[in-house]
């Protein structure tokens, strides 16, 4: 069985590399993009099975990208895990319409939490 593909959208390069490293270590294929403009292209080329994304990105927030995903038949059901410093200030219910299956708090989460959230989202 081929490895599942995770598209990571994180504008902090070092944090993005850390997330990618954690996921690669347990066997996922990972593509890291810093902003939504690059992420749109990566959806077509990389064909991810799910998305792990920050909310506040360089330029735009993640929401226009998530709206774009929802609007296409082939990506409309793609699961999304959001990972943000704002997690404590956001209602998870507000994120559900964007296909978000889990909200992680960057300030409190452990590396294992990323793996668990991705695993759950892909089930």
């Amino acid at each position: 069985m081929s490895a599942k593909r995770v598209l990571v959208i994180e504008d902090d390069a070092w944090l993005g590399e850390h997330f990618a490293s954690v996921l690669k270590d347990v066997g996922y294929k990972v593509k890291l993009e810093p902003h939504i403009f690059a992420a749109v292209g990566a959806v077509d080329e990389f064909k991810p099975d799910m998305v792990l994304a920050d909310i506040l990105l360089a330029g735009e927030t993640i929401f226009p990208f998530l709206n774009e995903l929802r609007s296409y038949e082939d990506t409309g059901e793609l699961p999304v895990v959001v990972c943000s410093n704002l997690a404590a200030d956001i209602s998870f219910d507000d994120l559900k319409p964007y296909g978000v299956t889990r909200l992680l708090d960057k300030t409190t989460m452990q590396p294992d939490d990323i793996i668990a959230a991705v695993k759950d989202a892909l089930q």
Partner: protein, 243 residues
Amino acid sequence: MVAKRGEDKELRDGRLFSGDLPSIVAAAHELKAPLALIRQLALGLESSGAREENVGRIVLTAEKGLRLSSDLTKSLRLQDALFETEPINPLSLCKDVVHEMSPLFNAHNKKLVVAERKRQLLVVGNNSLLRRVITNFSDNALHYAESDKPVEISVRAVEGGEKVRLGVRDFGPAIPSNIWNNLVDKLTNSPQSVNARPQSSGLGLYIASQFAEAMGGEIGAVRHRDGATFYIDLQASKQTSLL
């Protein structure tokens, strides 16, 4: 497009933290980002093969957080008029900033340079505040710039030589007009709570505008098709004996 900070009453009269809860929330949010990164990098030390690299990143991120903390302190002290202005060689100051910031840029595989110029200029400003403004712009550029072209700091005369402009140019993806308008707004208004304005608080730019104002200058930004320039205009000094 050029955006300039005007004579805004809110900026003239209001200082950061003058009983302004949204500003405190903005500051807390800005400090949360480097702290969260340090924590994640530290957690990664246990499993990461690149332990030495991660330790270096932790140090550089801590320094970034400390710079912001220091800016906030300076912002409070502006009220006490502790920062006197004097003639400054801006090119020399910019080279100092490049020296300070190069380890951070190098760690991101990016480059920060100063555009050389033959004719030297002097500005009237405060060395400490001006250095913080240029460092702040460079920090901002680091976040937005792509790695194939260096971020460039330049110094040039404007308004017929009456003023001197220190600009930090980054090369990155074009900024959408709605984001640009939001960013321009941050040059002229106090930082808002992240709940009220989700695209970050703009605290760094707001602090830079306060520092500029304390030196009798103003900050602004120019939108390019491939990035942006943030600049500060200061009064030119005629005291050529320092050159």
